[in-house]
């Protein structure tokens, strides 16, 4: 290449190839060749033979889906609030959506440990309402983990939705009103379908982030709820079983990646292209 721009691209290109592609290649090679299992995919076969491990994969993907569902239920009313809001209300929604981003994942996880813990307000409320029988902790429960992750990842879903809504033509809704549609019908047939590109983009981010959020999964799920990221961590830092760890790494990529790919395919639908 004698393109004059090439020298500018070279450092980043070398960094990508040497610092990223090469280590990932090593990891792939390692997952196939290291360890004592025979055959090219011996390590993978050995891992997948254990039903306990299969459940971890299922649990991880399911966790991602559960978080996406809960986050969507939370995001839609907020997005509609934004949609109906004037300038001031819209600004407030955007600022409040960005605010949690100022706190790191650890800080936000820490907040949920306080909230879900035995001395936390959620337990006190649930106890007062008679939902639970005496003080206990919501930590180490999947329900607690899903709620916490949904809150932590919510901005990732909400912000792309808001980005689409902010560009949406209000006259579309006026046209639907003139056609005689009520507010619920407008929401379900006009506003939300047109927001779908943002919603799907948000789903991808939320799913990917929730399914691989090692810190929150480990701190709230503890040793009782094991998902692939924590499983990977244990193989490396506790069991020192790097071959298995490298297999888990690729299974994590493949299992979450295929869901993300499927979601991304949705956005290729001709009805969705163009109104993003």
């Amino acid at each position: 290449m004698k393109n004059p721009a090439f020298p500018f691209l070279l450092p980043m290109l070398l960094l990508s190839l040497g610092g990223f592609v090469a280590p990932m290649g090593v990891l792939a090679f390692y997952s196939l060749s290291a360890g004592g299992n025979p055959g090219l995919f011996g390590n993978y076969a050995a891992f997948l033979e254990d039903p306990f491990n299969l459940w971890i994969i299922v649990d991880t993907v399911t966790l991602g889906f559960k978080v996406v569902v809960v986050a969507t239920c939370l995001a839609v009313p907020i997005a509609m609030l934004y949609w109906h809001g004037g300038r001031r209300l819209r600004q407030t929604v955007v600022v409040l959506a960005l605010l949690p981003m100022l706190a790191s994942n650890i800080v936000r996880t820490f907040a949920w440990i306080v909230l879900l813990g035995r001395n936390g307000p959620l337990v006190a409320i649930a106890d007062a309402l008679g939902l639970i029988d005496g003080p206990r902790s919501f930590l180490l429960t999947e329900g607690g983990l899903v709620i916490a992750l949904a809150q932590i990842e919510l901005p990732l879903l909400l912000l792309p939705m808001i980005a689409v809504l902010s560009r949406m033509d209000r006259r579309l809704v006026e046209a639907a009103e003139m056609a005689g549609a009520g507010p619920w019908r407008i929401m379900f047939t006009i506003v939300l379908p047109l927001t779908l590109p943002g919603i799907i983009a948000g789903w991808i981010l939320t799913f990917a982030s929730a399914a691989t959020n090692f810190v929150t999964q480990a701190a709230i799920g503890g040793a009782r709820l094991i998902y692939l990221p924590q499983f990977l961590y244990r193989q490396v830092n506790i069991l020192f079983d790097w071959p298995t760890a490298s297999v888990v790494a690729f299974i994590l990529i493949i299992s979450t990646g295929s869901v993300i790919l499927a979601l991304a395919m949705l956005t290729r639908h001709p009805r969705l292209i163009g109104n993003a």
Binding site: P77, L102, T109, P183
Partner: protein
């Protein structure tokens, strides 16, 4: 036109959904972070919510050289890592963004996924890949390995922030500059670089914050004897629930806000630029 009672019911329920649930969930998005911040001012020994009284004792504890020696050391190490990661990202990502705007769209589209890929992958997986690759080359975990990992994984954030501006730059600005007598270097220094600055500052902010917060990369790559702040916080989160973690969170949020304000001050025309 008189509305029927069903249409009244539908607009009431819709209003409740949008303004009631919307406001409630908006609060739900923000409140946990506020709670964790409020915990940092507790006068109690534990993280009981609501706090029994207010005090700055846990912030004072952070400053205490005896009590918090490890935390302080960890903070210092982390700061160094973040600064080096920012500087190295500048070196790799800014020229790449500049060069990317100067190659054909076909080549740019081929190269961009390569540059952005490390950002998409779970950082836990990349941490393992780099650990195994380094181990094969007989490189043991070190601060520099953490810096490298941060540059590979978060440098793309700088690339993307700068590149999005570089792609939008009107090429006639550089043409105009050269016709007005500027050499290539003068054009770069006096026209291109100042116009890229908002993207560069935003990229610096993102890389800095991510390098301070990320757990997964130092988890595998930091040397055994070296403490790193996110690891220290993660450990506190998992076992002790030391109230100092709330104070550290408070300090981190304050730093984030300060850096964000600084970035916006540095780019006085950033906001108006986006509007036009």
């Amino acid at each position: 036109m008189r509305k029927s009672w069903t249409s009244h019911l539908s607009s009431i329920s819709y209003g409740l959904f949008v303004y009631g649930l919307g406001a409630l969930f908006l609060g739900f998005m923000v409140v946990p972070v506020l709670i964790s911040l409020s915990m940092s001012f507790t006068s109690g020994q534990t993280l009981k919510f609501p706090p029994p009284g207010l005090s700055l004792r846990w912030y004072a504890a952070l400053l205490d050289p005896v009590q918090s020696e490890i935390v302080q050391q960890a903070a210092w190490n982390t700061l160094q890592i973040a600064v080096f990661a920012v500087l190295a990202s500048l070196v790799f990502a800014v020229p790449a963004a500049f060069g990317m705007a100067r190659i054909s769209a076909r080549r740019a589209n081929a190269l961009e996924p390569l540059f952005l890929a490390p950002m998409v992958l779970p950082s836990l997986v990349y941490g393992l890949a780099l650990l195994i690759a380094a181990n094969l080359m007989h490189i043991s975990p070190s601060i520099w390995l953490v810096v490298l990992a941060n540059v590979v994984v978060f440098g793309p954030l700088m690339f993307r922030a700068t590149s999005s501006i570089a792609q939008q730059l009107d090429p006639s600005l550089e043409d105009a500059s050269s016709l007005l007598g500027a050499s290539r270097w003068s054009t770069f220094r006096r026209v291109t670089l100042p116009l890229l600055a908002p993207g560069i500052y935003a990229g610096m902010f993102l890389v800095f914050i991510q390098s301070i917060e990320n757990v997964s990369l130092p988890l595998f790559l930091a040397p055994a004897g070296t403490t790193i702040l996110p690891l220290e916080m993660f450990a506190m989160l998992q076992d002790s629930l030391d109230p100092r973690i709330a104070a550290i969170s408070g300090v981190l949020i304050a730093i984030t806000v300060l850096v964000l304000v600084a970035v916006q001050r540095l780019t006085p025309f950033l906001r108006d630029q986006g509007r036009s």
